[in-house]
């Protein structure tokens, strides 16, 4: 599903000419197979989010190659990325990233709007998805009128609405209490089992890492297969 080859990334900070280079990732190679749940762990500041942002296309790597679902995404334009995301990737964020001025319903149907799906079809699909995450009664609530757990379920519904084969999640349980966390994790397992959705999850959390088929640790900008408990 995801193949990362010899990926390298660094940030430049400061004014032009006097900038300092912060190397973050070096020679990163990673393969995530279809149907896997892979957790990426590592110390704070180790570059986990950076890796995910590169795979999401939010930043472009300094070097290396990324393939997603058979497509070489390195060097794609913003427009190509937009279309690619709509077809292939669902996103779950730590802070939900719902649009506050839109209702739960409107937030969930947003990817379909971008895709140009007709309103009637959108209605049906959005209803199905909201029912699936158990929030149909809350369809007219704005994000500010929902609990953290409910907001995260809205964002999951939004990620699932286009039926992507892959979901990328950066600390999806970071803003949830333990009860909501458990519910989310079992939902992830269910989606993985029933719909064969591939998950790449970044986390700090032992419990999250425990549901993964595979754990990958980032340390010193390099990937190490398996978990090194001292690092976490």
């Amino acid at each position: 599903m995801i193949t990362v080859k010899q990926l390298e990334h660094e940030f430049r900070i400061g004014k032009k000419g006097k900038e300092t280079i912060v190397p973050v990732l070096r020679d990163v190679n990673l393969t995530v197979n279809a149907g896997e749940i892979v957790a990426v762990v590592g110390r704070s500041g180790s570059g986990k989010s950076t890796l995910l942002n590169l795979i999401s296309g939010y930043i472009a790597p300094v070097q290396g190659k990324i393939m997603i679902n058979g497509t070489d995404v390195t060097g794609m334009s913003e427009g190509e990325w937009a279309d690619f995301r709509l077809e292939n990737i669902g996103f779950i964020f730590q802070s939900f990233q719902l649009i506050p001025t839109m209702t739960a319903f409107e937030n969930v149907q947003l990817p379909l709007v971008f895709k140009g799906v007709k309103e009637v079809d959108r209605k049906i699909q959005t209803e199905t998805m909201l029912k699936k995450v158990g929030l149909w009664e809350f369809k007219d609530h704005y994000p500010g009128e929902l609990s953290g757990g409910q907001q995260q379920r809205v964002s999951i519904a939004r990620a699932l609405i286009v039926h992507p084969p892959l979901i990328l999640a950066d600390e999806p349980t970071g803003s949830l209490d333990s009860e909501n966390e458990r519910a989310l994790l079992s939902f992830i397992q269910q989606l993985n089992r029933e719909e064969n959705i591939t998950f790449l999850i970044i986390t700090h959390d032992e419990e999250v890492a425990n549901i993964a088929h595979r754990k990958i640790t980032i340390s010193d900008g390099r990937l190490v297969e398996g978990s090194d408990t001292d690092e976490i």
Binding site: N53, S56, Y58, I59, E78, G79, A82, D83, R85, L86, I89, F91, F93, S95, Q97, L98, I99, T101, L110, P111, V113, F114, K115, G116, K118, E119, R158, A159, V162
Partner: protein, 432 residues
């Protein structure tokens, strides 16, 4: 993304900022209205001045005469004039000169302004009909727009009334008279009105004509045995009048610019030629500057309004940076985002342009209707009839609409482009 959805986005966005949108629309409305009203004053005063000078005649029209009455225009003259460079058309009319009359349902009128034109030349010169068509059969005629006003009858109470109904498709009776010794012979010809001329501009003594076909002229001449139906008593037997002479000859240039050279050419050929061009040229030149000045000032107003649109759109983009970041993060195309913001500025600018145009029309009507009243009440001066304080030719709202629309589109362009350049990660971190 569908247009309908983009529109829905824009509308909900505008609804959330009603006050700001309203103020921006107001500013662009005022800018656009200001531009049109200002320019319309220039156009109005110019129109008044031009109509005073030309009496409504075309600028390209050159009235042509021969140097003496003994030497009337003949066909050769007309053909020669048609050969001059830049001549669009030459109209040549023969005037019926007979003591007879035209009558309809008891109303009648003497044979004043009865012409036999060449309809093809008249059409080329720009004669247009408000109704009907040009004659096809011998007894069909075209009348001027105001022809009916001179058809009159005296009622029993000795009051004179004129014919009010439309003459279209009515049959006029033309009576031709000729003296034979002491007796007067009469001949009547039925004429069907198949066309009515265009309404001539105000305060012009036109639209009184009756246009006959050449066939009717032949009938008349065969009856009177004189050219154009002239009375035998008017003809000095020693100087017999020739047939086929033309009384009213006008040359039309293809463009006002060429009037001068044609005039020169006509004079070289020993005709008398006159147009209103010289005096008009001067006045139009002055008005050109006035109008350009007014439009420039008006455009400044539109530019000021466009700063408002620029600000509004920049704020709209800034305010929604996070939303835009989220949208981009989950797969919104930068093109769609740009179009959403462009659409918003186009709607604001378009609303302003439409409202501004409507308001300036209202203003223009009000100024023309009310200013004369106000001036005569408070300043004891009478405004001449048909004085245009403000005149909006069709081109003016089109130009202003284009200016308003173009300026708003341009001012919305940068904010819209900025929206597409928003960095997803920064927006998601909410540190913008």
């Amino acid at each position: 993304m569908r247009f309908k959805d983009r529109l829905a986005f824009v509308l909900s966005n505008m609804k959330k900022n009603r006050m700001r949108v309203f103020m921006t629309v107001l500013a662009s409305t005022m800018g656009c209205a200001f531009l049109i009203v200002l320019a319309s004053v220039g156009f109005g005063v110019q129109k008044t001045a031009v109509e005073d000078i030309t009496g409504g005649r075309l600028l390209t029209q050159i009235d042509t005469f021969t140097t003496s009455e003994e030497k009337p225009f003949i066909k050769k003259d007309i053909d020669m004039m048609k050969e001059i460079d830049h001549v669009k058309a030459v109209t040549s009319r023969q005037r019926i000169q007979n003591e007879g009359n035209v009558s309809l349902d008891g109303y009648s009128k003497d044979l004043f302004e009865v012409f036999v034109p060449d309809f093809k030349d008249e059409q080329k010169a720009g004669l247009e009909l408000s109704k009907g068509r040009f004659p096809q059969a011998a007894n069909e005629v075209v009348v001027g727009y105001h022809y009916g006003e001179n058809l009159s009858k005296v009622q029993k109470n000795k009051k004179e009334i004129t014919y009010k109904a439309s003459l279209y498709h009515k049959t006029l009776t033309l009576t031709i008279k000729q003296k034979e010794g002491k007796k007067t012979k009469k001949k009547t010809i039925a004429l069907k009105v198949v066309g009515v001329g265009e309404k001539p501009p105000k305060r012009v003594q036109e639209g009184q004509e009756l246009f006959l076909t050449k066939d009717v002229l032949q009938t008349i001449e065969a009856f009177t045995k004189t050219p154009k139906g002239m009375s035998k008593s008017d003809i000095d037997p020693k100087h017999p009048q020739p047939y086929n002479t033309y009384d009213d000859v006008k040359v039309y240039a293809d463009d006002a610019e060429n009037v001068e050279s044609i005039e020169k050419e006509l004079k070289k050929k020993e005709y008398v030629a006159s147009s209103r061009l010289d005096s008009l040229k001067e006045i139009n030149f002055v008005f050109l500057f006035i109008k350009i000045g007014l439009i420039v000032v008006g455009t400044v107003a539109v530019l000021i309004a466009s700063i408002g649109i620029f600000n509004t759109m920049t704020m709209a983009v800034t305010e929604r940076t996070q939303d835009i970041g989220i949208m981009k993060a989950i797969g919104a195309h930068p093109r769609s985002i740009k179009q959403i913001f462009l659409l918003e500025s186009v709607i604001i600018g378009g609303l302003g342009a439409v409202l501004g145009t409507i308001i300036s029309y209202l203003f223009s009507f009000a100024a023309n209707a009310l200013l004369p009243v106000i001036i005569s009440t408070f300043f004891q001066t009478k405004v001449p009839d048909d004085f245009y304080f403000s005149y909006i030719p069709l081109s003016l709202p089109l130009i202003s609409f284009a200016i308003c629309f173009g300026v708003t589109l341009l001012s919305g362009m940068r904010p819209a482009r900025r929206a597409t350049k928003i960095d997803v990660l920064r927006a998601l971190r909410r540190d913008v």
